[in-house]
């Protein structure tokens, strides 16, 4: 940033070969001395690293926000083999050092606790409104089953959730939205699948179920 030679492309959400093609277009157009490609899956990290290596960039990889940043720099010591052999194999996202803990909150209903439903709904509103106190440690907020109803048109919590989404990632179960026929009504968060949910649980330091 601040250096106009550094080109950056956000390839999150793109499946292979999308990220490689974007990187290729950028290099073909402007041959930048330095570029950053932000990706969000392991296959893309490996493929983009390999592609940049094949174009004689020196490759490094780091965690960046919700994604992984693959950086290429032109330099005399750039090499394909080097980048692949030494950098790629230990690039598990879970292995990256970091300062804050990752908390995943799984919301499986539109109310909190059992007993009085009206009370339960009030409690959940209060819970989600207060959740921002977790700060940066609130890493993922996942809505499943009845919980997805909080993310759709007409929910009282859209404002609260949009606020939380600025710092954290909100995932909403696609199967559940489809089941309730609410897929078009979702107003906040990213539609997700069980594999992403399970992976997120595995990467999280703490999982809280409501």
């Amino acid at each position: 940033m601040g250096d106009d030679r550094v080109k950056e492309i956000d390839c999150r959400g793109l499946a292979c070969p999308g990220p490689v093609l974007k990187a290729k277009n950028l290099i073909d157009e402007s041959a930048p001395a330095e570029l950053k490609i932000i990706v969000d899956n392991e296959a893309a990290v490996q493929n983009v690293s390999r592609f940049l290596g094949s174009r004689q960039y020196k490759v490094s990889v780091s965690l960046e926000g919700e994604g992984t940043c693959v950086k290429g720099e032109k330099g005399a010591d750039a090499g394909v083999k080097d980048a692949i052999a030494k950098e790629v194999p230990r690039r598990g996202i879970a292995d990256q050092p970091r300062e804050t803990a990752r908390i995943l909150v799984l919301v499986s209903n539109d109310r909190m606790g059992h007993g009085d439903d009206l009370l339960g709904k009030k409690l959940l509103v209060s819970f989600l409104t207060t959740l921002k106190e977790m700060g940066k440690e609130l890493w993922r907020l996942v809505f499943i089953n009845n919980g997805v109803k909080l993310t759709v048109e007409g929910s009282d919590l859209l404002g609260v959730l949009s606020e939380l989404e600025k710092e954290s990632t909100i995932l909403v179960c696609g199967t559940c939205l489809t089941h309730f026929e609410l897929l078009d009504k979702k107003k906040v968060g990213q539609t997700t699948n069980m594999l992403d949910i399970v992976t997120a649980m595995q990467l999280a330091d703490k999982v809280i179920t409501v």
């Binding site: 292979c16 490689v20 899956n41 392991e42 296959a43 390999r50 592609f51 052999a85």
Partner: protein, 276 residues
């Protein structure tokens, strides 16, 4: 795959392959079709079915019926029934120390398909890949039948090393892979080197890498090719060493030019795959 006729051929070859890999003879098939009637010309479906039918004829299979539904995404496959004498059924795990492993089709269809999506595949590699995918494993199975084969499987979505792992697990044996001898489609290595490896190859690798002992001499790009998910891949045949040269020569005489010895079975019991 953009050409519906080729798509039909490949889907049929893929569906028939399991029977061949068991040493059986397919006899009847049913078409299974999901088609987006509103979004696609019906002539596309006709071409797909014709492609499938050509392969069924080639296999000597009778189309006895089928099932079709309207769906948002196009799908086509076959449900195939074949026959085999119970004592001659080939299973994956029956590999024996000293066996040679023979692979009958070149690897790389997943990588080339990824390159096709990106518009980066050469005409030559597309043609070779389509030809290879549409090729039935019938001839290979017929040749194999004349030899005292111990085990066989067909290479599909788990890639060469993934399906090899399925032969090794539960066998009580280990396997050594001669990576440099693996037949590979044109351009596959260069396309993989520039990052056109499908996500499935990385998943396959992640899943099975714990049982692999990979020599540092082997190019990591080639390892990805060995894990590349295949569509309608070849047979992987485990045959006693004494019969391997004969089997290989017969396969090549029958027109299976890419057939190669790609490994050998060693004593267990670790159930390891060494790639060198």
């Amino acid at each position: 795959m953009d050409d519906p006729y080729s798509f039909g051929q490949i889907a049929a070859a893929n569906a028939l392959s399991d029977i061949y890999a068991m040493g059986g003879v397919p006899k009847t098939a049913m078409n299974l079709v999901a088609f987006p009637v509103k979004d696609m010309e019906i002539s596309v479906l006709r071409s797909i079915i014709e492609g499938g039918l050509v392969k069924m004829r080639e296999a000597g299979v009778v189309l006895v019926g089928g099932h079709s539904i309207e769906d948002s995404e196009l799908k086509y496959g076959l449900s195939v029934t074949g026959i085999i004498h119970p004592s001659r059924v080939l299973v994956k795990r029956n590999i024996r120390p000293g066996d040679r492993l023979v692979l009958t089709k070149p690897l790389g269809t997943g990588i080339i398909n990824t390159a096709i999506k990106g518009g980066l595949a050469s005409t030559e590699s597309i043609e070779k890949a389509v030809y290879s995918m549409a090729e039935l494993n019938k001839t290979a199975a017929e040749v194999m039948e004349r030899y005292p084969v111990n085990a066989c499987t067909d290479i599909t979505g788990f890639g060469f090393l993934g399906h090899l792992a399925e032969m090794v697990i539960g066998s009580g044996r280990s396997v050594k892979v001669f990576s440099a001898s693996a037949p590979v489609l044109p351009d596959t290595i260069s396309l993989a080197s520039m990052g056109l490896v499908p996500a499935g190859a990385f998943n396959n690798k992640k899943f099975r890498i714990h049982m692999m002992d990979i020599s540092p001499e082997v190019d990591p790009v080639l390892i990805d090719v060995l894990f590349d998910p295949q569509t309608s891949g070849g047979l992987l045949i485990s045959v006693p060493e004494a019969h391997a040269p004969g089997l290989l020569a017969s396969l090549r005489d029958a027109g299976i030019a890419d057939a190669a010895v790609v490994g050998e079975v060693t004593e267990g019991p670790e159930e390891k795959i060494t790639v060198e």
